[in-house]
Symmetry: C2
Subunit: 249 residues, 2 copies
């Protein structure tokens, strides 16, 4: 709720106000009618036009709709999706469980040599040929997750065609005889959306994203997939249940 008064840290005041209002909407602190432009201008200690600029941005994103004479209203929009993450959690099931329509598509596929990092994780040779897939996941038609997946070609061949045929990574793995794969671990950090991801996710530049990396292994324990995903922070809350005791200690 605070807007930097003098030093703006390179972020326009209107953008700060838009971000603040967006966060309030995401956290459920703002719903229905927004305070009037004049009220918001007082609250944020800025000129009314600056508030208008912020609201215009939110309107463009579809988060609010303004009506002359009546006010500005938060558009009906689902809150954060509680997204469970575990050894076998899957996008379609999670989204379906949240009563959203899951969907997605492959937006890129390429072949590249394994970097030292990925080689170490997948247990393959440095520079071994990898298949790299770029997936865009949507919920109710809106893009929400961008993922980059890496598979070693020798061990997991034909994933591009497999995904094209089955529309699902786990089903494509199954057709390769790799059923029962499980995620070994997930690492989570937070980043700001760059122009590339912002375009894919239809969000403003520098929107906070949850970034995860994870390693998935076959039943044998052999790593089969390394993935890096970016979730819209305002749309997701990853849920890790410690009830059975995650063995980090």
């Amino acid at each position: 709720m605070q807007v930097a008064t003098s030093e703006t840290a390179g972020i326009a005041r209107w953008r700060q106000i838009a971000d603040s209002l967006r966060a309030d909407i995401a956290e459920g602190r703002l719903a229905g009618a927004l305070p009037s432009e004049m009220r918001l201008a007082e609250r944020f200690a800025v000129n009314r036009h600056t508030v208008r600029r912020a609201i215009a941005a939110l309107s463009e994103e579809g988060l609010v709709t303004a009506a002359r004479g009546r006010g500005t209203f938060v558009a009906p929009r689902p809150g954060r999706i509680a997204y469970p993450v575990g050894p076998r959690s899957r996008f379609s099931e999670n989204i379906g469980a949240a009563s959203r329509e899951p969907g997605g598509s492959m937006v890129g596929a390429t072949r590249e040599p394994a970097s030292a990092e990925i080689a170490g994780l997948l247990g393959c040779g440095i520079a071994a040929p990898l298949t790299r897939l770029e997936l865009l996941r949507v919920a109710d038609g809106a893009p929400v997750i961008v993922s980059t997946l890496w598979f070693e070609e020798a061990r997991v061949p034909g994933m591009v065609a497999g995904f094209a045929e089955t529309g699902s990574i786990s089903r494509a793995l199954e057709t390769l005889g790799l059923s029962g794969c499980r995620r070994l671990w997930t690492r989570v950090s937070a980043i700001a959306a760059d122009a590339h991801d912002a375009e894919r996710l239809h969000c403003p530049l520098a929107t906070p994203l949850i970034q995860t990396t994870s390693l998935t292994a076959a039943v044998s324990g052999e790593p089969v997939q390394y993935a890096r995903s970016r979730f819209l922070g305002s749309r997701f809350e990853l849920l890790f249940d410690h009830a059975v005791g995650t063995t980090t200690d």
Copy 2:
């Protein structure tokens, strides 16, 4: 690596460049000497002065040091701390395990009535008196985590004094006969640092933060603590190990 060319989305070009370079540094893609200002200006398709402005910001943050005639260099700085999160993971142990000096202080303590949300989580009455603590955690003297903790006073009395005496939440709980507490679950999202947290964490406004909420229970299963924490995204990577199988499915 892309800077918005025409429409800046309310984020100054210098800020975008600073953010991009900061991310590269955080991900280990940039170390030692940075490309020269002229080279960076070419890469980002901006005037050299704009690059200088970005570097000035990073220099202010202590991420880089510039030397006339020699170039600009990434300051020695630890990468991301892999921070395990589980039922019993604790700040001091995690930071110590990462060979950093843990520290911290209570920066705020207040009493407030339980909101419906917190009442539901802690299993107490709405408007029941809560103790709310604000903690600032540092690693090697640098602030890295801001946490807000809530305890029901009737069940967990005197936490302010307890933390003041012991310097630790878990030890304060132990003096109340609440040993063996465990975290039941952790939820993770990503937010942008507001002016308040930015000041506490000594980071630029809107820096991406990992936000977690978690519920901790006594051995009896009775909830004793609800916490909300904000971690610097560039300094942390939360690690969730699924090896034993987190029961989210």
